[in-house]
């Protein structure tokens, strides 16, 4: 299997992630090791396939996401973990050639149904991106933007309150409360990323998707974000894509290992890291490739 991975053709999806995927004609369903279901899921994904033109980026992925948990998705570059994450709030819609099939349900409602409104969906499933991307507006405006467009605050007082609570929850209030009118782009990288988190939680989503949120940050800023995720899981479900296995081990309750578009193994984070059952998972975790 490993040798194959090294020698087969390189299929590169047009996403940021790139790397080898399985060559055509070799399609056979890989059964996921470990239990993909949970007792009370907020999101259930079944038979999810994503194709970018001819490239098959995600293959028959089944997985549940529970309430109040942090699910970490790990795997080598190009394994499709970011692609899968972007399916959960339909950000793949913005890629013209992406085609998603299968069924993803948020609290029992198919999010790819014709009747599902993508604006409502994204208000419930928020997203934090790899590179901090605050709007080039003031800190206040950054956080107030979501509540404003969704009409969550009836007046200025309520809006102020939402902004303050969101910044507090994101652990940023103490640092910025005296300069809310300054541009969000003037903050440090770690502060910017926490601002993006504050912006996301300002619309009180049910799920927060994080796409390598710490890859552009230094270790201290990273530690702060990880701490924050631990607090946030009290109220939200968090799905995080990360390249750092240590981070996955530190912040998540469950871990999913992706490889070349297949979901190889899912399980309790502790179990995965101490006792991986699939050969590929073990090889990846022990650093034999990645």
């Amino acid at each position: 299997m490993l040798d194959q991975a090294d020698t087969i053709a390189m299929d590169v999806p047009p996403e940021a992630d790139s790397g080898p995927t399985r060559a055509a004609g070799e399609e056979k369903k890989i059964k996921t090791t470990g239990r993909v279901t949970v007792n009370k899921p907020i999101i259930t994904a079944r038979d999810v396939n994503v194709r970018y033109g001819d490239k098959h980026a995600i293959k028959d992925v089944d997985i549940d996401i529970a309430y109040n948990e942090v699910l970490a998705m790990i795997g080598p570059s190009g394994c499709g973990k970011s692609t899968f994450l972007r399916c959960l709030n339909r950000m793949n819609d913005t890629v013209d050639i992406a085609r998603v099939t299968g069924r993803i349900e948020l609290e029992g409602h198919d999010i790819y149904d014709r009747k599902t409104d993508v604006v409502t969906l994204r208000a419930r499933v928020g997203m934090v991106f790899q590179k901090p991307n605050p709007f080039p507006k003031s800190i206040y405006e950054n956080v107030a933007y979501g509540p404003r467009i969704h009409g969550l605050a009836r007046n200025q007082v309520e809006l102020d309150e939402i902004v303050q609570t969101s910044l507090r929850k994101a652990g940023l209030w103490e640092e910025v409360n005296d300069r809310l009118e300054q541009p969000g782009t003037g903050l440090s990288g770690g502060q910017q990323q926490r601002l993006c988190i504050a912006r996301t939680i300002a619309v009180s989503p049910d799920v927060i998707l994080m796409d390598e949120p710490c890859s552009a940050l230094d270790p201290i800023a990273t530690a702060k974000i990880e701490e924050l995720m631990d607090e946030l899981k009290e109220n939200y479900s968090i799905v995080i894509v990360t390249h750092s296995m240590q981070q996955a081990a530190r912040v998540s309750q469950r871990t999913a290992y992706f490889h070349l578009g297949d979901l190889i193994e899912v399980g309790e984070t502790e179990r995965i890291f101490t006792n991986p059952r699939h050969k590929l998972t073990e090889d990846y975790l022990t650093g034999r490739f990645g």
């Binding site: 013209d96 604006v119 969906l121 994204r122 208000a123 991106f129 080039p136 969704h150 996301t200």
Partner: protein, 424 residues
């Protein structure tokens, strides 16, 4: 040979190539600057004298028998009175020795035809002046102006001069009497076109240009930006949008005269819009500037980082909200720059306007976009085509005014870009 030696061996050649390129670059800039200096020197050298004009002081008696024989102060009567006769009379009084029809006509030709209109305007403004004797400075004829500015050489034989010895003698007497001097040529900035150089001004063309550009801006900016936003943010990427893109790029390179012919056929012949009107000029220039604005606006939209779009969409903003709240404000400085550059292009355009009749000789200042008008570059063309020597300096002066407006607009573009440019 070790690596360091090999590197050293090729080093001289590498640096020489760099030096050569620098020299070429500097040489090109020096040559360009030389041409620029030459251009400005010749325009300003030819044109600066147009801002001065020779005036003659005449002593006029505003006789009530001529202006208002019945004393009714009827405005119509005041307007139609024979002020020219008063001017002539005052000149005869100034030079009582002149006799004979031919000499007298020469004498009357000393002052501009505009002198009578000056008197008329004075009387209309203040009818109480009637009956008084006044000293009035009136514009001299353009030949006298040219003599004063040295464009007519006194040293040449009389037969080769436009001004004969007799007239030169009168001029010298006027100078000696301090009745002739150079003054600021305010008519140039306030009057419309005229067949008499000393009365011709740039204001009519400037107003025409203003109305034309106003129409162009009001149409091309919203349409151009809207088209760019739709093509860049909403339209699907397929064969049709590819064809549209190629066509827009091609339209930017179409000779402007073709747009003029199109405007003539469509706006004037088919829609029967008025000839020579700024509104048609504006429509034609809109067609011409749209590709520029669309291309610049699309480039500005492309330069907005996709992460901002992701952020907005990820927050649950609709596509329209994403564009209106985030993308457009960031792209606007670039769009404005493109628009102003397009406008500057339109301001300097003359060929398509010739086609729709804006080359007509129009004396009145246009009162709106539907009045016949001409524009600055066409005015330059018209004056450059006129035979009188005095139009040479006016042509250059008009070019200076046009260049001034262009420089102003480009400065504005740079200023706007610097002011609203946002970094992140």
């Amino acid at each position: 040979m070790d690596t360091a030696e090999k590197v050293r061996a090729g080093l001289g050649k590498r640096y020489a190539a760099e030096r050569r390129f620098r020299l070429f670059g500097m040489g090109a800039i020096v040559v360009a600057l030389c041409f620029l200096v030459f251009l400005f020197a010749s325009i300003i050298g030819n044109g600066y004298t147009a801002f001065q004009q020779t005036f003659i002081k005449i002593t006029v008696h505003l006789e009530s028998e001529v202006i208002d024989p019945r004393g009714q102060r009827d405005l119509h009567k005041l307007r139609t009175a024979d002020y020219g006769a008063l001017v002539k009379k005052s000149l005869r009084a100034q030079f009582p020795e002149v006799s004979g029809r031919r000499d007298k006509r020469k004498l009357y030709g000393m002052v501009s035809n505009g002198a009578a209109f000056d008197l008329q305007a004075m009387v209309m403004r203040d009818p109480d002046l009637i009956g008084k004797v006044l000293d009035v400075w009136v514009a001299a004829d353009d030949d006298i102006d040219m003599l004063m500015k040295g464009h007519i050489d006194r040293g040449r034989p009389e037969a080769e001069r436009r001004l004969k010895d007799l007239e030169v003698g009168w001029i010298d007497r006027l100078i000696a009497d301090q009745r002739l001097e150079m003054r600021f040529n305010s008519a140039f900035f306030t009057a419309g076109d005229s067949r008499e150089p000393e009365l011709a001004g740039i204001w009519g063309a400037a107003v025409g240009s203003f109305y034309t550009l106003l129409v162009t801006l009001l149409l091309s900016f919203p349409i151009g930006v809207g088209a760019a936003v739709y093509l860049e943010e909403f339209a699907p990427r397929n064969r049709w949008t590819d064809i549209i893109e190629v066509n827009i790029n091609n339209l930017a390179a179409v000779p402007s005269i073709v747009f003029g012919l199109l405007g003539l056929a469509v706006f004037i012949n088919f829609f029967s819009l008025p000839r020579s009107a700024p509104v048609v000029g504006g429509l034609v220039l809109t067609l011409m500037t749209l590709p520029t604005i669309i291309i610049a606006s699309r480039a500005a939209l492309k330069s907005v980082p996709p992460s901002i779009r992701d952020a907005a969409l990820g927050m649950g903003a609709s596509k329209m909200q994403m564009v209106a709240h985030h993308v457009l404000p960031l792209a606007l400085p670039g769009m404005l720059t493109g628009t102003i550059i397009g406008m500057a292009q339109a301001l300097g355009e003359s060929a398509p306007l010739l086609m729709i009749g804006m080359v007509a000789f129009i004396v009145d200042i246009p009162g709106g976009p539907f009045d016949p008008a001409t524009v600055l570059p066409v005015q330059v063309y018209l004056w450059a085509d006129s035979p009188e020597r005095a139009f040479v300096e006016r042509t250059s002066a008009a070019i200076m005014v046009l260049l001034g407006f262009l420089a102003l607009m480009n400065t504005l573009a740079v200023f706007l870009r610097k002011k609203f440019e946002r970094r992140w």
